[in-house]
């Protein structure tokens, strides 16, 4: 069974510890990495991709250090960086062909693989067009296609759905769900609903550390009793919005219904409600989001 393990991984760049003594074991399945901006998610993913070397600690794949596996590790890896790179003057097809060569995809499989993936991300008609003419969503879809070129056993996606419209996001979720069998898929995103729908396990990262992990129920359970709703007038709603972490605000005629995430009951007539993953995000990362 495929497995990845991080043992006490730390990455320090200049004075800042982007990732701090991070330990984690990943087995086959889809993992959603949640954290505010600057939590160290991208640095962690880069280390998992063997692009950045940890300052201390080790990353293992099936018990072997990925640094020692070198190219053999990257052979089974697919990666979509947050800032997806491309040569603007290349056509989509030529670009995929170039990356297929770099990924050492067997020459006999390159054509069929490109065909299959362009079809999958609905870019077949654009194959001969230069990438610089593509929209943001199309570029992102091309990024997803390149990550899957070598049929990776480990797929790491940094903000994969950024720039995709709702229809494309749903398509992406289905694509990942179908692809994830017998593989490790790790995606980092700000879009909580993506994680909610496709991740088997959720990882919460804050200030370079893993602060929680579990399936959706286990994670949501952690904030049970900390989510409240109340009806207030518009002026009070504004005041509470500044004072508390408000996960939803809905106008109901003259009144406003607020959904507040707080450890203590915020107002006397507030009612405790079932939490969702967005509430969890707000509970853990509200302060950092404001920063």
């Amino acid at each position: 069974m495929l497995s990845m393990e991080l043992r006490g991984v730390t990455k320090q760049y200049k004075q800042k510890k982007a990732v701090d003594d991070f330990s984690l074991k990943l087995e086959e399945g889809v993992y959603g990495l949640l954290g505010a901006n600057g939590a160290g998610k991208t640095t962690l993913l880069r280390m998992l991709c063997n692009i950045l070397k940890p300052t201390s600690g080790i990353v293992l794949c099936n018990g072997m250090e990925i640094d020692e596996m070198d190219g053999e590790y990257r052979r089974i890896l697919g990666y979509l960086p947050q800032q997806f790179g491309y040569y603007p003057n290349m056509t989509a097809e030529r670009y995929l062909r170039y990356l297929a060569e770099l990924k050492a995809v067997p020459p006999g499989l390159i054509d069929s693989k490109i065909e299959e993936l362009l079809e999958l991300v609905e870019l077949s008609e654009m194959r001969k067009k230069k990438i610089k003419t593509f929209s943001g969503g199309m570029i992102r879809r091309l990024g997803i296609a390149q990550a899957m070129l070598n049929d990776p056993e480990i797929l790491i996606l940094d903000e994969p759905t950024a720039g995709l419209d709702p229809k494309e996001r749903i398509r992406f979720r289905n694509l990942i769900s179908g692809f994830s069998k017998n593989r490790i898929v790790l995606l980092s995103t700000h879009i909580v609903s993506d994680v909610e729908y496709i991740a088997d396990r959720i990882l919460l990262m804050k200030q370079g550390k893993l602060i929680g992990q579990g399936n959706l129920e286990e994670i949501v359970e952690q904030v049970e009793g900390h989510v409240w709703t109340c009806m207030v007038d518009a002026q009070t709603a504004e005041e509470y919005n500044r004072k508390y972490a408000v996960s939803n605000l809905k106008n109901q005629g003259e009144k406003v219904e607020l959904r507040i995430v707080a450890s203590q009951k915020p107002v006397e007539d507030a009612v405790s409600v079932e939490p969702g993953l967005e509430d969890v995000y707000l509970y853990y990362f509200e302060q950092e989001t404001e920063e």
Binding site: Y13, T43, R46, C49, N50, I51, L52, K53, D70, G71, R74, R75, I76, L77, Y79, P81, Q83, F84, G85, Y86, Y87, P88, N89, R94, Y98, L99, E101, L102, K103, A104, V105, P106, P107, L109, Q146, N150, D151
Partner: protein, 268 residues
């Protein structure tokens, strides 16, 4: 039975494979059910196995040649041909040898730009991070592009030296030295830029440095004393020093690319 066995092994020993197997198969009863099961298992295992390709170094170089924009090969040739054309024209008008070298040095200072741009392109448009996640390591890609650029420039510089040798009365090695030194010094500058600059400003900086260093060379080299035999030691010193600095810069670049911090924080 014993005779049969002996006959069988004598055939095997003699290397007559077909007859050996024919005889051997006669003595084996095949369980068709087990055979089907075994074939199914083999087919399943083969299906699960990842087909692996191990590209050779020649293949990797071929890939880089195929996907590099043709301008990186064409422009240096055009530049050098143009320079030699100008030098030839000047020679016809009876210009001094020193003046010829001045023009050549200014152009040669620009020659290294194409190679360094082709390397910097590996990291442009956020490609470095993506390329670093592929089977072929980013260090390997940088090294291949460096080798290609060194090959093109080496051939051009050598050709230029041979042509110049035919035009002027000077030892070949001395001509080579006068041509090689501006190339090495300007390359030191380009690599220094490559090591320090961020992606978006890099092409502009290369261009500005190339033009500036070309101008500086053509200004200083107008003095005929520079090409006097007595100044040879200075030329050799400059060539050796810039060559050593260049090696140091290349080492730093390869190390930085492999470590990842340059790709992720500086060039991204």
């Amino acid at each position: 039975m014993k005779r049969k066995k002996t006959e069988l092994w004598s055939l095997y020993g003699a290397g007559r494979d077909r007859r050996f197997w024919k005889l051997a198969m006669k003595n084996i009863t095949v369980d068709s059910l087990k055979k089907q099961q075994a074939l199914r298992m083999i087919s399943q295992t083969a299906g699960e196995k990842r087909i692996i390709s191990r590209p050779s170094l020649v293949h990797k170089i071929g890939v880089q040649i195929r996907y590099l924009e043709k301008g990186y090969f064409v422009f240096p040739v055009l530049l050098m041909s143009g320079a030699l054309g100008i030098v030839n024209g000047m020679k016809q008008t009876g210009v001094r040898e020193v003046e010829l070298f001045t023009v050549l040095s200014a152009v040669i200072a620009l020659l290294g730009i194409f190679g360094t741009i082709s390397i910097s392109r590996l990291f442009s448009n956020h490609m470095g991070e993506l390329e670093a996640s592929c089977f072929c390591s980013i260090g390997e890609l940088v090294a291949i592009r460096m080798t290609l650029s060194a090959f093109i420039n080496g051939v051009l510089l050598l050709a230029c030296s041979i042509v110049m040798r035919g035009w002027i009365q000077m030892e070949f090695l001395r001509i080579l030295l006068y041509i090689l030194t501006p190339f090495l010094v300007s390359n030191c500058l380009y690599y220094a830029i490559l090591l320090r600059m961020r992606d978006k400003n890099i092409i502009l900086s290369f261009g500005a440095t190339g033009i500036l260093s070309g101008a500086v060379w053509s200004f200083f080299l107008r003095n005929s004393l520079v090409y006097a035999r007595g100044a040879m030691a200075v030329w050799i010193g400059m060539a050796v020093c810039s060559g050593m600095i260049l090696i140091g810069e290349i080492h730093w670049l390869l190390k930085g690319a492999e470590k990842g911090e340059m790709i992720c924080y500086q060039w991204n």
